[in-house]
Symmetry: C2
Subunit: 586 residues, 2 copies
């Protein structure tokens, strides 16, 4: 199970992340290739062991038993398109290869764009922009710091660990398989988890792959962008795609030794349910990320939890969040109409599913090449305008990320108070009234009953209020938290998406220099400007899609929150009125 | 200013109370006679200095400059009645003299009656049963632990410290004068304060003074007790006495060098206002305590505060509490109809006041001798029944004291939460909504305004809720706290009142033994049984008075609390409805 590997680029370990610093041309021994998420564990010549990005090394030799599990980079796009020669790419390398700190900073992907002067929330990015779900994030709290509903999952009855029922020989989602195993190995004791480096496939190669590709593949895929009232917009289907995630069922295999949960997904198009396990969602996520990640923020799946006791609650919570994720994907016109997404929703049988999987995994139009399928029906944009738009989106998403985190932090504290000390206090008030009432009842004085009955009633009312207070967050704050948590995940994808654009803009700026140096032709330069315009239209269409969804979502969640809050206060007032009526009028 | 004194009884210092352990017949030097509250500071032959109950020592010599301020025990009743010989009293001493721990335990006067198994509230008895107000308690929190409305008083503008406008040569209230000086000397730095030992005058001499007095003074005073529906009751006046305490005014003397606050008290009988300073209330309190304390619990005056900044709030608070105290005194048929109370309410001029004061201070029917004026219009009670009643009242008042303290503890914590962390949290929620709204407003996306306006409104609503939450305790919990605090003070008087009865019952039980020993005659024994029956009627009338007032007070305060709570929740619901209406309907 060991293999030697040559280090392709310098990599500086981040402290506390179990990483290993390696130098270009150094030879290391791979000690564990099953870490997942774009990482391998390697040992250097001094015997030090740590994690290294797998794209930073080139495997020199490996044992046969290893080869079947050893993932190639999930999307080796170079082989599939008419790519510039590699020496040309090397010339770009210093500028376009992601700096290790830039890509491995799981705590704040914004930090490479903006220094965060707010000093506000220091939440972890529990939902990391890409690939976190493939087994790396063991943080038990999807809301950043111990959200009470962060159920711990079904423990030994892990529904993700055991093997897949379908054919493994397809080589399907090796990442996720490895990731799951890795997560189990590292378990809950590991406090620092790597974010996935799945973004490497598209960000490492850089936008040049698209900007300078000699000849764009002409396929059946064609993604038009129109200019609507709000600016560039995607083409939206007349009947929006939707689906219902429901009815989680425990399945088992290997004569009941291993069990898993299957969810039923019913799309509105066929109204015919299909079954999927979490790992299938994960496979879908990986495919969508590979295919659209450069252009469209693909939010992470809800966190994978592998330990815990509250199985039913956990499954309910996961289902709710898978529903949320699917709804968001369905709402996206490009994602929801893609072959892979439609396969997931409407496959007919196992054979159909397997064939569809193979086809999806062989898709060549992934990474930055997705831009080659996009056709804006509008004149090319000036590069200056492109840059301005990009900066504006960067500022907005960063600012909204801060705002969302603030709400999550405040909401989390409020949740704790409402479910902890506050109801305890109301309960104690209720008990104190009832105790005093009992004392009064023992006075032996005539005409005591009216007061003691009323005081007991008032005391019980405060005990009821305690329950109401403790239950209320589940009815209102929960949705505020879930929505903002979803947006935190979504916003976490933007730095990378915007990063691809910034890199493209930088390349276009270098156009004259590259022409002068004979690296590219003047035609290449013109083509680059045209293609960066297409990228900008894409980003704008995506931002407009984001804004329109955001307005809808926040309008809805705020209304729901306020409605439930009103009910809450009115219910308490009603209860108090009843208690008040028990006292005699003076 | 020093005087030698002989120690009359053993006294064991309580740890942490600055007390000095002394032995009978030991000679000590009095180093400070101005401590007040029945305490003096003394030095023993080993040079140790500490507080000793002044009733435990006998001053042997003192400098002339000292004599005018040196208080005799406030009510040396022995001189005024036909008392048994002192050697006889000595025979009773071990049983009836208060054990030092019993009387100096300021934390829990109940502890001598019942061991407290509840382990519940550990409040200090901020309002001590007797005499605390005469300058000994510097605890700034009348509710036990830092109640936010425990204003610190007017500081240098102390209205109690300066001299009295009227004639000091009467020797009026030396206790309170000394107490005030003492309080100033010890200041805020002293954490342990002595409770007053003013109860000594009536409890030290014991009930024998009354039980065995040869001949009861026949005066015009006659306090009948009738048997009503609920049992023995006082005779209630047809028109209940009432008064309004209002209009606090700053007065000054010594050419403005010293200032004080005068309150206007208007009784319903004359409707003519009289003016009194706090020290006059204090004088009244001392007189009532001396006269009725053995039979009727006389609650302490509201705490005296001598330092602080919020003068207006302090004066308002004190006035409110003086009103509460006066109302309670007015409601009591015996207290309110007494000469001294009527003098306080209706004196015509300064001369009238001075004469009335002198007369009140010369009153001989004080201490246990008040029972000699009480005439139950019912057959004598069996001593067994007397004891049962006494035990029942003791249990009830102890249980109610626990219940009241529990409410005070819980209420105090709730007050802190409602004025501290909770509104801060609502404020932060409000800010978070508004911040996110600002971010949204910066999106540049069309049709943003409806959502951002609504979210800003919702945010402001939560800021308003924060204010409502913080202000609410003053509107409702405040009265719950004040009422329970008043009852805590009142209940704190019962152990002593009941103690007098218990001591009397014990004496009656010893009747046969005393007759056999020739200490008393058989007629004495019969007289004792009759007189303890009178004491029991008194206690029962008092308990029935207490119960009827309690039912009224708690009915009223609970209704007020619930009414204000209902308004509170309804107001919040209304505000939220308004905020909700700002969002667009989906």
């Amino acid at each position: 199970m060991t293999a030697k590997a040559k280090v392709l680029y310098d990599f500086s370990a981040e402290p506390g992340n179990n990483e290993l610093t390696v130098k270009e041309n150094e030879t290391v021994t791979i000690t564990n290739q099953s870490i997942g998420g774009g990482w391998v564990e390697a040992q250097n010549s001094r015997g030090e062991v740590g994690l290294v990005p797998e794209d930073y090394i080139e495997v020199l030799q490996q044992l046969p038993s290893f080869s079947s599990a050893a993932p190639a980079a999930p999307t080796l796009t170079q082989g599939h398109v008419t790519a510039p020669d590699l020496s040309f790419f090397d010339a770009f390398a210093p500028a376009s290869a992601p700096a290790p700190n830039q890509t491995s900073n799981g705590n704040d992907p914004w930090s490479t764009w903006n220094a965060d002067p707010s000093g506000g929330s220091s939440n972890n990015w529990a939902s990391n922009p890409e690939g976190t779900q493939t087994g790396k994030s063991a943080a038990p709290d999807p809301w950043g710091s111990g959200h009470p509903q962060a159920y711990q999952g079904p423990g030994a009855e892990d529904d993700e660990w055991d093997d897949e029922w379908d054919d493994r020989s397809t080589g399907g989602y090796p990442e996720s398989e490895a990731g799951e195993a890795g997560a189990m190995q590292r378990g809950a004791g590991a406090h620092t988890m790597k974010i996935s480096l799945n973004k490497f496939p598209f960000s490492k190669s850089g936008p040049e792959l698209y900007l300078l590709s000699k000849q764009l593949t002409k396929g059946k895929e064609r993604l038009p962008i129109y200019v609507g009232e709000v600016g560039p917009v995607w083409s939206y289907p007349e009947t929006p795609v939707d689906c219902v995630v429901a009815d989680p069922k425990k399945g088992s295999k290997m004569y009941g030794l291993k069990s898993y949960i299957e969810y039923q997904i019913t799309p509105n198009s066929t109204n015919r349910p299909v079954n999927h396990r979490y790992k299938h969602f994960d496979w879908l996520y990986e495919r969508l990320l590979d295919k659209f990640g450069s252009a469209i923020p693909i939010p992470s799946l809800p966190d994978k939890q592998v330990t815990g006791r509250f199985e039913e609650e956990f499954i309910k919570m996961r289902m709710e969040r898978l529903q949320g994720w699917m709804t968001r994907m369905c709402r996206h016109p490009i994602v929801s109409s893609s072959d892979v997404f439609q396969l997931f929703l409407t496959y007919k049988d196992e054979k159909d599913w397997k064939m569809g999987k193979r086809k999806a995994e062989k898709d060549e139009l992934v990474g930055v090449m997705v831009f080659s399928t996009i056709e804006p029906e509008a004149p090319d944009l000036d590069p200056v305008e492109v840059e301005q738009k990009c900066e504006q989106f960067s500022r907005f998403t960063k600012a909204m990320d801060d705002g969302v985190k603030e709400i999550l932090t405040v909401g989390h504290e409020h949740w704790k108070r409402c479910t902890g000390p506050l109801p305890k206090e109301y309960q104690r008030i209720g008990k104190a009234f009832q105790n005093l009432s009992s004392v009064f009842a023992s006075s032996g004085y005539q005409g005591e009953a009216t007061l003691t009955d009323a005081m007991t009633e008032a005391g019980k009312t405060y005990e009821e209020i305690a329950l109401l207070v403790a239950e209320q967050p589940k009815k209102d704050l929960h949705f505020v938290m879930e929505t903002n948590n979803e947006y935190k995940g979504l916003l976490g994808c933007f730095p990378d998406t915007i990063g691809v654009h910034k890199a493209a803009i930088d390349k276009v700026k270098e156009g004259d220099k590259l022409v002068a140096a004979g690296k590219i032709t003047p035609q290449d330069k013109v083509g680059m400007a045209k293609r960066v315009s297409t990228m900008s239209y894409t980003l704008q269409a995506e931002m407009n899609h984001f804004h329109s969804n955001r307005i809808y979502d926040y309008n809805r969640v705020m209304q729901l929150y306020l409605e439930e809050q009103i009910k809450f206060y009115e219910t308490i007032a009603e209860k108090l009125k009843h208690a008040h009526g028990q006292f005699t009028t003076m």
